[in-house]
């Protein structure tokens, strides 16, 4: 249910973002010199988007239902995409939705379908020592974070003024990728090929399926059976299915 809520709110937000993305229209507001957001984007958009992001993240890690967790993560990604847009990384915002929310999460969904098991006890780290240590370290980090928020340290470096108008556009990215970052670009493409091949190799069965029961289908909660002869498989399957 929460997943559905999130999904619908995400859709709403998406439309809002689309509105916002129509650049020259919308009033130009005064922004302080060292602020980052583009002049066409109101400040409260940041708070909403970040709230969405954080809520989605929290839900992801606490849901027992895996599909719910995946959906929450999708919501997180949408929020992040909005934030990227705020940061004048338009191209990346689109890529974030296409690749992350669109491809990677779909992959996760597939795998969850394959291995659909809920765990009995979802919470790990039973050792109190490790829990204490981890919690302590996190609390410490959060406290330091709080210091940064509350304390008066000098702000991190930022250049004033607006960036060039094609900052974050496809043209600028292309310019980089086909001149200065050409090698990483090609290397990453090779990496992707390797990843694809690797995924196929790793995930395939090593046993040739001789019967339908060897295939890893979701309706078989016990996983694939051992390789047994066809006749035995025939004899066993009604029993297995009957008991199921």
């Amino acid at each position: 249910m929460i997943g559905q809520l999130l999904s619908s709110s995400t859709a709403a937000l998406g439309s809002v973002l689309g509105l916002l993305a129509q650049v020259p229209t919308g009033q130009v507001q005064q922004v302080p010199a060292d602020s980052l957001h583009p002049s066409w984007c109101p400040a409260w958009a940041f708070w909403i988007l970040s709230g969405l992001t954080i809520a989605g993240a929290l839900v992801t890690i606490t849901r027992r239902n895996l599909i719910g967790a995946v959906m929450a993560l999708v919501a997180t990604f949408f929020g992040l995409a909005g934030i990227y847009a705020m940061l004048s990384a338009h191209f990346l915002a689109a890529i974030q939705i296409l690749v992350y929310a669109g491809a990677i999460m779909v992959l996760f969904v597939f795998v969850i379908m394959v291995l659909n098991r809920e765990e009995e006890d979802p919470w790990a780290l039973r050792s109190p020592f490790a829990k204490a240590l981890g919690t302590g370290a996190l609390v410490y980090l959060l406290v330091r974070l709080g210091e940064v928020i509350i304390g008066g340290n000098p702000p991190p470096m930022a250049r004033g003024g607006n960036p060039p108008t094609d900052f974050g556009s496809v043209a600028a990215m292309g310019d980089y990728f086909f001149t200065k970052f050409l090698f990483p670009f090609e290397a990453v493409s090779i990496l992707l090929v390797i990843a694809v091949i690797g995924a196929v190799v790793l995930a395939r069965t090593s046993v040739k399926p001789t019967s339908v029961h060897d295939l890893p289908y979701a309706d078989q909660p016990h996983g694939p059976q051992k390789t047994i002869s066809a006749t035995e498989a025939e004899a066993e399957s009604p029993a297995a299915h009957g008991g199921h």
């Binding site: 980052l36 890690i61 765990e119 996190l138 790793l202």
Partner: protein
């Protein structure tokens, strides 16, 4: 209490950095907390995104496109890593019949 260094109306670099840190923290907690390996992988994606956010924030602050280029590469690599990771998960857990990280302790002394 001193004045908040993070203002509500003027979104500065610090805001984005703090958001990144929070997301990172949530990702770390997610890896700690859950035994299901898929949740672990998702938390790792969260952490990667936090990193991306930081990169982009600084890129914007410094008016330097290289941050965005690097973030793009990070997304590509994260995709590859997710694919491989899931393939491994599928392969390993096919026979184990459960997705429990606690059982993966063969590297124990």
């Amino acid at each position: 209490m001193d004045q908040l260094a993070v203002s509500v109306t003027s979104i500065g670099l610090s805001h984005f950095l703090v958001l990144g840190v929070i997301m990172l923290g949530i990702g770390v907690v997610g890896v700690f907390l859950r035994r299901n390996v898929l949740i672990t992988l998702m938390s790792i994606e969260l952490m990667l995104n936090a990193g991306n956010l930081t990169l982009l924030a600084f890129a914007r602050a410094q008016h330097d496109m290289r941050g965005q280029a690097l973030a793009f590469l990070v997304i590509a690599v994260a995709a590859a890593e997710a694919a491989i990771g899931l393939a491994i998960v599928v392969g390993v857990f096919r026979n184990r019949r459960n997705t429990d990280l606690d059982d993966l302790n063969l590297l124990r002394y």
